[in-house]
Amino acid sequence: MNEQTPKSRLSLLRAALVIARRDFAAILFSRVFFFFLLGPLFPIIVGALAGGIGSSLDSSAGEPEIAVAMTASDEARLFEAHKALRAELGPGMPLIRQVAELQEGEEFDAPALLDRREGNIAAVLSGTLERPVLTAPESRLGMFRGSVALLTATALGKSPEAFPPVATQVVATSGASDKRGRLATAQAGQTLLFLLIMLLAGMVLSNLVEEKANKIIEILAAAIPMDAVFMGKLFAMLGVSLVGLALWGTVIGGLVTLSDMQGPVAGFVDFSKLPEPGVGWPLFFVLGVVYFSMGYLLLGSIFLAIGSLATTVREVQTMSMPVTMSQVLLFFFASYAMAKPGEPVELLAIAFPLSSPFAMLARAALSESVFPHVVAVAWQALWVFIAVRLGARLFRKRVMKSGPQPVKAKRGLFRKGSARPA
């Protein structure tokens, strides 16, 4: 045999860089990136719309009323007193509505009125101002009893003529609201992380399928290691997403600055009042990016491996469905674990590689300690390495086949067939 030629091939990293550079540029200047940028807006818009509709429904249909059935003179005094109290107490004084004007000594059938379930009537006030009768379900009685007593007393002129001015002092938060705020931050962070990861993993899968459709894979496989193709694709998409996040970060940063200077932005969100996460906002953002990267790399590797097994878009969809569903379940699992800090369920969510990024981001929002994040990132990085290697191996093994595929052997009652040579 001849003398050996010196090794001559791009290193793994350089080859990955060639792939990543091409993919990065191709995606960044395509419609895909535009949709990626808009992606997080959809849940926000849907959430805002749902919230708006909900609050509108709540305000229009939610406030209960007390029906009033008394003599004309009593009702006149009652409504005058209500007007004054409502002005002072606002929603603290329930709405009242006249339903009947009774003659002296006339009885009113309050249970019958409530039974008809008209409008928003939650209770009925009858009798006289001296001896008022409140009819309501038990759950409502406690709610209205005090208000009705105050109302009738005021109508009788027994209440204070003037309400003393109450000085108010606003505190930033209480223990309870601090915890509630952090939970909200953790939940928001997890949801955003989940949405972005799913969006991105889907995009990288589409990218691979497109590559197979374009028949470029074989050119890549002949020139560079398959691991490099994998890494290049994964990291290109990560790079694209980080550009997207940087853009979003700049927009949000601008809004925060505006909010600090001018109060609520567009009368909508006051960023200065957002509850601060346990590790503080700067580190929370850094960890958010790190956990997003880890979560995406893990799921992206799995999706890429699936992509290598599939030959058509339909096959990809079929095969990726269980993974997508599992990821949704893991997201719910991590969300559930968030409410159980320190308990085995949270530790399990942290230890399981695919739920770990979500669980740890929640922890960053809820707890001040930083060291667990160092350990978690190292743990997740190990799994990313394993996933990329296994995915690449599977890809290399499966994707470069030639010739007809043998008919799958039937098992059980059917005899196993033999495969013919190509």
Partner: protein, 325 residues
């Protein structure tokens, strides 16, 4: 193993060095035997053709030689290296299934393919532009805006942009019109003249006959023949076409068995004893020879005969197996 490695003939740039040496390559896919003990030797600077019908195992053999897939059995050395994937910079490969990024411009596509083989992007772009201009192809046009044939030529130029020592082309002529097929033939000759080893697979024998120093015929995953084109043609006896004035007479006894008549014409294989004894007998028998031509068998005839024999052997091997089941 059907192939005798000693049959190879010296190539135009015969240097005695081997660009490729493969022995006993076997590849199975899920139990299906795609390649069954292939042996090949290709000399540096040669133009080597791999011929075979569709599904014969040509692509799988090429992929194994390039290290895209590993053989289940056997060894191969490419440019003196056991692991061909580690010398990717020295190899240019045009796969059978053509593929380019549709959104890329032609020169960028070439530069990208060069970058995959270690060429700096800037240099790749410059060389890409130059090559495209040289071959009369649009430089700035996106691949998606090109015809299939044009895109194929761009990909071919991308295969060559980094000046590889070994060029492997899988069915390079398919999809090209006659003019571009001619251009490609000239390109392949030009590469070989520069000392580049060119291996290409095809099922169109005429290209191999015009271009190749040596060929391997693959059928059913095996190589029933590997060697020079001349040696392949010599496997089939030359065909004689004889025209006589007389239609019948004692001279007919001199014709070889199996001779076929077409009016006053007779077609038969050239006897092993040569043409002279036959001519003497025809003259003595007063056949009245009007014309006589001896046609050497073409590579196509050799291919049909060799591949046909291989198929018949494979069928014969399968039948007893089926009878045993």
């Amino acid at each position: 193993m059907d192939v005798a490695l000693g049959q190879t003939s010296p190539s135009r740039n015969a240097s005695g060095r081997l660009a490729i040496e493969a022995r006993g390559l076997v590849k199975r896919f899920d139990g299906t035997l795609a390649v069954d003990g292939v042996d090949l030797t290709v000399q540096v600077g040669a133009i080597y053709g791999i011929l075979g019908p569709n599904g014969a195992g040509k692509t799988t053999t090429l992929r194994m030689m390039l290290g895209i897939i590993d053989p289940d059995e056997g060894v191969r050395r490419v440019l003196g290296h056991d692991r061909p994937s580690e010398i990717a910079r020295l190899i240019g490969y045009l796969p059978e299934e053509r593929g380019l990024y549709p959104s890329m411009k032609a020169y960028e596509a070439i530069a990208f393919m060069g970058a995959l083989r270690g060429m700096p992007l800037k240099e790749g772009r410059e060389r890409g532009r130059k090559l495209l201009e040289e071959y009369g192809l649009p430089v700035e046009r996106q691949i998606r805006q090109m015809s299939k044939g044009m895109a194929q030529q761009v990909q071919l130029l991308g295969t060559l942009v980094h000046d590889p020592q070994l060029v492997v082309l899988d069915e390079p002529f398919s999809g090209l019109d006659a003019i571009n097929q001619g251009k490609l033939e000239r390109l392949i000759r030009g590469l070989a003249d520069k000392g580049t080893t060119v291996i290409f697979s095809t099922h169109v024998i005429a290209h191999a006959e015009r271009l190749c120093d040596e060929v391997a015929i693959i059928a059913g995953g095996k190589v029933p023949y590997a060697g020079s084109v001349d040696a392949a043609r010599d496997r089939i006896p030359a065909q004689v076409r004889l025209e006589t004035a007389s239609k019948d007479g004692p001279w007919r006894a001199a014709l070889p068995p199996g001779s076929k008549a077409e009016g006053n014409f007779w077609n038969f294989a050239l006897p092993e004893s040569g043409i002279e004894p036959l001519l003497r007998a025809l003259i003595e028998g007063e056949a009245g020879i009007l014309s006589l031509s001896i046609e050497r068998a073409g590579l196509h005839d050799a291919f049909v005969a060799i591949a046909g024999e291989a198929a018949a052997r494979a069928l014969a091997e399968e039948k007893p197996l089926e009878a045993r089941r």
